[in-house]
């Protein structure tokens, strides 16, 4: 099994779009679960959606959580606190840029890499060439 990926965003469309882009590079080999928007569909984060996404992506290899903005960290940490410590230790909250990190994480996860490797790959999203270097 491949490391799972969870996308936490304040916008449902954004979360789904990131997942759609990342899935293109992982061809169904990686579970990419999304938690976007509030329960009533407005812009914000939802504890229940984050918990559900973590459960959907849960697997023995671990899960990398990518976030859009800093404030999404808090709801994600609350979700983690509701899990068993044994589950929690297989989950890393990424500091990578959301879109770029998710695409690189999906590539790395689909190659069967470890959680630590997937987390490191996501952080390479900072150096993803755009503009002059592309």
């Amino acid at each position: 099994m491949a490391v799972g990926i969870v996308i936490v965003s304040h916008s449902a469309r954004l979360a789904e779009g990131v997942a759609e882009l990342a899935e293109q590079m992982s061809m169904g080999e990686v579970t990419i679960a999304v938690a976007g928007g509030t329960d009533d569909g407005s812009i914000g984060t939802s504890l229940d959606k984050v918990i559900a996404a973590l459960q959907k992506a849960a697997n023995p290899e671990g899960t990398l959580v990518l976030l859009d903005l800093g404030s999404a960290v808090m709801v994600t940490e609350m979700a983690l606190e509701q899990l068993d410590p044994s589950e929690r230790q297989h989950i890393i909250i990424s500091t990578a840029p959301l879109v770029e990190g998710a695409v690189l994480a999906a590539v790395e996860a689909s190659a069967g890499s470890t959680l630590a490797e997937v987390a490191e790959a996501a952080n390479n999203g900072h150096e993803m060439p755009k503009g002059k270097q592309a």
């Binding site: 329960d39 914000g44 984060t45 939802s46 229940d48 808090m74 709801v75 940490e77």
Partner: protein
């Protein structure tokens, strides 16, 4: 006179009402340095809290506050959800089984709430957040308690200190939350979260000072 179970109920109802009334104001403050939703968030959260309160008339204070916490976390949708949510959850934990609170219980409760906000938001005093209302409020509360003032007076002093702290956020540079994206430009604007914190404390104080309510 200790704070009773009914007082807590009344405080929470009063908070819901005040946050509803001030919703547009809080959102306006958030529009200057955030995403214009703090009033909407707090109103939505406390409306949900209010709806739960009727089912809690038999619960102890700890259970009530924990329910407030979980309700806020699941309904608010913004940073203030996990922050106030954790505050009420921690306050509920240290009030477990209690049907009334003495001054010392109240200080314990607020210390736990403060610790919760700090753990959750990893912020400290001076970062232009709700902490800048809450921290001076608790300091004033401890001072008042040390001076053997009544619970009503303790809460009045806390509210006054929260209000002063809230006003001090105007001159601060935000370094946590969305307002930090503005950097120096956040100066000159009052923090929405510090403002809602003051309103919630004022609701508590009003509850315990019946004559002065809506003075």
């Amino acid at each position: 006179m200790p704070v009773t179970h009914e007082d807590i109920l009344h405080w929470l109802q009063q908070s819901a009402q005040v946050l509803h009334e001030y919703s547009a104001f809080l959102t306006q403050l958030d529009s200057a340095i955030g995403d214009a939703d703090h009033g909407i968030n707090m109103d939505r959260g406390f409306t949900a809290v209010n709806a739960k309160l009727t089912g809690l008339s038999d619960a102890d204070i700890g259970t009530m506050l924990k329910t407030v916490g979980t309700t806020l976390v699941s309904t608010v949708g913004g940073a203030s959800g996990p922050l106030y949510g954790t505050a009420f959850l921690r306050a509920g934990m240290v009030s477990s089984g209690k049907q009334s609170l003495e001054t010392s219980d109240l200080i314990t409760l607020f210390d736990a709430a403060l610790e919760g906000v700090k753990v959750r938001g990893k912020a400290q005093a001076g970062e232009k957040t709700m902490l800048d209302a809450l921290i001076p409020a608790i300091e004033a509360g401890k001072q008042a308690a040390a001076n053997q003032l009544s619970i009503a007076q303790v809460l009045q002093n806390m509210t006054a200190a929260a209000e002063a702290g809230m006003k001090n956020t105007i001159e601060m540079v935000a370094t946590k939350g969305r307002a930090s994206y503005l950097g120096e430009r956040s100066v000159g604007h009052q923090d929405p979260g510090a403002t809602s914190c003051w309103l919630i404390l004022q609701a508590f104080s009003d509850t315990m000072t019946p004559d002065a309510a809506h003075e």
